[in-house]
């Protein structure tokens, strides 16, 4: 470590009292430590802050029913996003079979569907309703990425589905 004391040589004659000189040198090691610590801190905090983005491609709105995508009933899974972070889902096109789940458990349902249907037929329909939040929609799109679902679409729920969700919500007391 850096030296603290400097040997003092006496040049004065005998009997002359030495005035004790204090060293002016300071140990700089802790200061260097601190400096590098701060540098590391700043480097880490600046690089981590980069926001990421998720690409989203929406189809063009079309009024022509011939251009609508045909989905096989056996391969479709409809996920409805409702109030209070609740997901409703049904397979095929029979909304009366609607069941309730949460965002944590929905992955299992998606995976089960993925396993049970041929890859070419699989189609997930995401329907966020009026009370769903933006986070819900992004979470669900993210879930498609995580589970590698190639084909999915985001559309509005039909009035039938919406009223059914509301009935369920009232029954379950979700506000």
């Amino acid at each position: 470590m850096a030296e603290m004391e400097v040997k003092q040589s006496s040049k004065k004659g005998p009997g002359v009292k030495k005035g004790k000189k204090l060293s002016t040198r300071v140990d700089l090691t802790p200061m260097v430590d601190l400096g590098f610590l701060l540098i590391t801190f700043f480097i880490f905090t600046t690089t981590v802050q980069q926001p990421t983005s998720m690409n989203l491609n929406m189809p063009k709105d079309t009024k022509d029913p011939n251009l609508d995508m045909k989905v096989k009933e056996s391969g479709s899974l409809t996920l409805l996003l409702g109030k209070g972070n609740v997901v409703y889902y049904y397979e095929g096109n029979d909304p009366s079979k609607m069941q309730t789940t949460t965002y944590k458990e929905v992955r299992k349902i998606i995976l089960d569907k993925k396993k049970s249907t041929p890859a070419a037929d699989l189609f997930v329909i995401i329907k966020p309703d009026k009370d769903a939040t933006y986070k819900n929609a992004v979470d669900m799109l993210d879930e498609m990425d995580i589970n590698e679902i190639g084909k999915y679409a985001m559309v509005d729920p039909t009035p039938d589905e919406y009223s059914k969700i509301q009935q369920t919500e009232v029954a379950a007391g979700i506000k």
Binding site: V32, G35, T52, N55, D61, K130, T133, Y134, D145
Partner: protein, 223 residues
């Protein structure tokens, strides 16, 4: 014979230059770090597994805050052209001073009719006022006009459309924003999110590992 004496050098090193370097670097990093432009908008974006970095150039950023209000920000170099174009479309004449004021304003948070008063405000005043946001309802979708103006001035050059929504924003408002883009025939957006780890054991996780292994094999084969 006397043993040769090894002269012991002092083990202490003079720390002064090292200290100088450390603090010089420190000062450099602090000054060079891009200070986050004072974001008066307090928005917490949702997280996703996507690891693509959000584009920082040629962007048009639509922000939705937690009260479902819509704000617009854009690349600094686009601002002057966009406001002039918008003025032409809406028959509002913006003076050169107005254009300058607009360039100094961070984001737009008012209907076009209030724009001229709005750009005169200082950032502190803007932070204090309760902004109405840009109207996006289907009857009066002013956001679409803004996007149209930005498209018109970029002359076909690629623009990055960023949408940054708050966790608590409602879905219909997001849909309204997307509709505004759709009206302008734009279908590709970047949703700004916070990065999150890919959940272990999921399909994507397995795929990433597979790709890593394949990448390694390819590298080994090259060797």
């Amino acid at each position: 014979m006397g043993r040769a004496k090894i002269k012991r050098g002092s083990t202490s090193v003079d720390m002064t230059p090292m200290c100088d370097v450390a603090f010089l670097l420190l000062t450099f990093f602090i000054l060079a770090a891009q200070f986050k432009p004072q974001d008066a908008l307090n928005v917490t974006p949702p997280s996703s597994v996507s690891n693509k970095v959000a584009p920082q150039k040629d962007f048009l950023n639509v922000t939705i805050d937690k009260n479902n209000k819509v704000f617009l920000d854009m690349d600094q170099k686009l601002k002057a052209d966009v406001i002039t174009e918008l003025g032409k479309e809406r028959n509002i004449s913006f003076s050169p001073q107005d254009v300058k004021d607009f360039e100094n304003t961070g984001y737009v948070g008012v209907p076009i009719s209030q724009l001229q008063q709005y750009i005169k405000l200082t950032p502190e005043q803007i932070a204090k006022t309760d902004l109405p946001g840009i109207p996006v309802d289907s009857a009066n979708n002013e956001l679409a006009a803004w996007i149209g103006a930005a498209k018109a001035v970029s002359l076909g050059a690629h623009l990055n459309f960023l949408i940054k929504g708050d966790d608590a924003a409602k879905y219909p408002i997001f849909k309204a924003v997307v509709d505004a883009f759709k009206q302008n025939d734009e279908f590709k957006y970047n949703l700004v999110t916070n990065a999150k780890q890919v959940p272990e054991g999921s399909e994507l996780y397995k795929k990433n590992i597979r790709e890593q292994l394949e990448g390694k094999k390819a590298e080994d084969a090259k060797k």
